[in-house]
């Protein structure tokens, strides 16, 4: 049995405590198949072996606690490290401060969406939120909203497809990466488009400057 199958086997023996432990560890950033376990838990709910609200409460709590640990690691570890590296480069510290300001504008929505839609990005955003000193109470709010939504979606999918746990978790795992890829394509596509546009406008300006004026014709 591979790791996923061993975890599924352990879930059927140990139940909710195992679900809690695995989700907590995965939320910190250690890659365990959380979506698979949540779908399986949804299937157990449908079969009457687990209670729906117990799964929702425990899984959400585990995910939120794990995210807070990731945030703290970013805040106390990553920040000092990045600024120490930044000081080595010219204007490095200024660039980091600018990056912090930009991140703060978008971080709330980013945290919320990375909890349930762009899930592979979740642990990274925990670190960057801590690193950029995004206010903790706001991080907690967006994190809790996103995580509860994520747990409800996956457990409900597990209930609906309770007889197809393995196939459904494969689909969900792949779809999460489809969303990440699409987000990247939109982001990098937009950057490319704006760089080509700015290049085009500079070209036009230089062409206009190079064109001979009426006064030039008169003098020749």
């Amino acid at each position: 049995m591979n790791v996923s199958e061993q975890l599924l086997a352990a879930l059927s023996i140990y139940g909710l405590p195992l679900l809690f432990g695995v989700i907590l560890i995965s939320s910190i950033g250690i890659p365990f198949p959380m979506s698979l376990l949540l779908v399986a838990a949804g299937s157990y709910v449908e079969q009457g072996d687990m209670k729906f609200w117990h799964v929702i409460a425990l899984a959400s709590a585990a995910a939120i606690i794990g995210d807070q640990i990731g945030y703290l690691i970013g805040r106390w570890g990553g920040r000092h490290f990045a600024f120490r590296i930044g000081r080595l480069f010219k204007k490095g510290e200024d660039s980091l401060k600018r990056a912090e300001e930009t991140a703060r504008k978008w971080e709330g929505m980013g945290v919320f969406l990375s909890r349930w839609l762009f899930t592979p990005l979740g642990p990274w955003l925990n670190l960057t939120s801590g690193f950029t000193e995004y206010p903790w109470h706001r991080f907690l709010l967006w994190d809790a909203l996103g995580q509860v939504l994520w747990v409800i979606i996956y457990v409900c999918v597990g209930r609906v497809f309770s007889d197809r746990v393995q196939a459904m978790s494969e689909v969900l795992g792949n779809l999460a990466w489809v969303f990440v890829g699409a987000l990247g394509a939109v982001f990098f596509g937009w950057m490319l488009w704006s760089s080509y546009r700015s290049l085009g406008s500079t070209k036009n300006n230089t062409e206009l400057d190079a064109e001979p004026s009426v006064a030039d014709y008169h003098t020749t």
């Binding site: 023996i13 197809r164 760089s195």
Partner: protein, 121 residues
């Protein structure tokens, strides 16, 4: 922006498109099909197999020579096989045979309407 920065952006854009397409194809390939069952795996418990294949758990427990308890034994098939000193694949084939038999010849059962009526002598 010109030269290397733009090349890196192009590469990142192409990589994002590739990730989207590859994982979309994988998601499509693994989509649950109503007429295709998930294969029986060692992590599954007997009640889960019964639920997945829509057969009574009693039939499957009987097929592997394991008593039907209340609540039913939720341990993985691999653990039951180890307890019985049998290869897990042998247990899986017993379950598959029982499912095929059950689907071909389901045991006679009372319909909901007849179940409420007393049996006439």
């Amino acid at each position: 922006m010109q030269g290397w920065p733009r090349r890196i952006l192009l590469l990142a854009f192409a990589l994002s498109i590739a990730i989207t397409v590859i994982f979309a194809m994988r998601a499509f390939q693994h989509r649950p099909h109503p007429k295709v069952d998930d294969p029986i795996r060692p992590w599954m418990s007997v009640p889960y197999v019964a639920h997945s294949y829509h057969v009574p758990p009693r039939v499957l427990f009987q097929a592997i020579g394991h008593p039907m308890e209340h609540p039913p034994d939720r341990r993985p098939i691999a653990q039951i096989a180890a307890e019985q000193n049998r290869p897990v694949q042998e247990l899986i084939s017993d379950l598959q045979d029982a499912i095929i038999r059950e689907r071909q010849f389901p045991p006679p059962s009372l319909s909901p309407s007849s179940a409420t009526k007393p049996i006439q002598p």
